[in-house]
Amino acid sequence: MRRLDPWLQLAAPVLLVVATAIVGSFTARATEIYFLTAITSVAIVVAIYVFVGNSGVLSFGQISFVAVGAFAAGVMTVPLDSKQGVLPDLFPLLRDHTIGDVSSLALAAVVGAVFAFLVGIPLMRLSGLAAGIATFAVLEITHNLLREWTKIGPGATTLALVPETTDLTRAAIGTVVVIAAAFAYQRSRFGRSLRATREDAAAAQAVGIDVHRQRLWAFTLSGALAGLAGGLYVHMLGSITADQVYLELTFVTLAMLVIGGITSLWGAVVGALAVSGLDSFLSEAEQGVGVGAATIDLPQGARLVTLGTLMALVLVLRPSGLTGGREFRLPRPPRRRVAAADGASKEAAREPV
């Protein structure tokens, strides 16, 4: 059974995503968007997990890579005849060329990776509070560049006319790719090294692990996966503004990771799907939704208040999240208790050294 564990750790989150897509395909068109959003959220949260979960370093900046991925994929897939009219100020390279939507996802991943690598070179020397604040600064810088610089995007207006090609099938395939990459990474020598630095950075250095380098690899991979997720996101929405990939998305996706369990891939997937479900319901409830004979009509803002409260409760009551921060595994029969009845010590009950 133990030999199957690694494959179950990959299969379980993949099956959960595929099952969500299948269920979503049987729902009405108006409801399908919630399933699409949930699956795309999984991709974003898993991308964040690759760095934050494995390194133990909190980053508020990963949504920057979602943002650059989304804008890169979006800008480069707006039809050429429309682009020159609606985005006249773009650099000529961006204005006069267009690429296919699948190629745009690859481009989004590359742009996310390069951006993360460049930002990570100085930032990955930081830990704790300093790392959190510095990555938040990256988010702020990215947001303002996307919002103000019309050479690379629409500026403060909406980037529209992006082909809506992320359907349930493509969202599921893209997200499975992200999950598989995260799984392969955490099983690799690089992933093990980074998790060792998460537990004890000084001890990891003492065995020859370069903490900065390991964090930089993970940050870059996380940037690539976040960029890809951003590409899926923009092709799901068909239009995007800089505000849509900023503070609220940062808060919601971090809440998903914390609620699911920050230190496991399974936690990232479960948290993203569970909170997406709740988030969708609360969004509807803010507009008034019928539940049986009753109507729930929540005031505006109740959605984020509820998610914030839930995140705080999880941190207080179950800091390791819904999954306990562990990977998926099948329940096992309890082990026989050795020498418990005769009062032998715990040490003696173990195998001899």
């Binding site: 060792a196 004890d200 250095q205 040490e347």
Partner: protein, 245 residues
Amino acid sequence: MMSEAPAQTSAPALAVDGLVVRYGGVTALRGLDLELGAGEIVGLIGPNGAGKSTTLHAIMGAVPAHAGEIRLAGKSLRGRAPEAIARSGIALVPEGRRIFAELTVDENLRLGLSGRRTRDGGEEAVERVHEMFPILRDFRRRHAGTLSGGQQQQLAIGRALVAAPDVLLLDEPSLGLAPKIVDVVFDALGEIRRRGISVLLVEQRAQRTVAFADRTYLLANGEVRLTLTPADAGDTDAMVHAYLS
């Protein structure tokens, strides 16, 4: 049979000359000198706060040296990053084991391969550690945090050995272990001696260390007060005097 023989040089395996370490305004080491020959076991004993662990941390680059020189086989280690020092042929078994509790025994052991100077021979190194500590093979898929204290100490020593170091630093390897398990640890040190690895052993068990090591330095207040040989193991008066001085 040892296949990864330490490098043969005329310089001592490890030499510390005039090492000064300060924590803010407090001087922890005051011009420490010590030498470790190839294949030698050197003990470092002394009261709490004498500077024993600081010496190991300074050698590994974890704390900066204010003055002095540290040479590994004649090459200076000063100013190098801890991970670079760990990859240059020196390995540390830290106080309190500091194994990676959430990783498996096998993952812990293989992380030690990061310290190897060559990519070849990693599997053989793991196999040799399994021969020395069979429990690490039996429990290789267990989380390291579930091991007993003695088993964790074997894992910490094994993790250091797979890096094929020329010099092994051990920081109180018997700390908190039952007497029977302390014997297991010292038996392992005997095997390490037979493999020709130089060992700098920091210990609180003064008499046992003096009897076991080729030479033992007694540290007090950041400097060497006494150099002892196994013949001095019974001379408790001299040790007590140096401890209290």
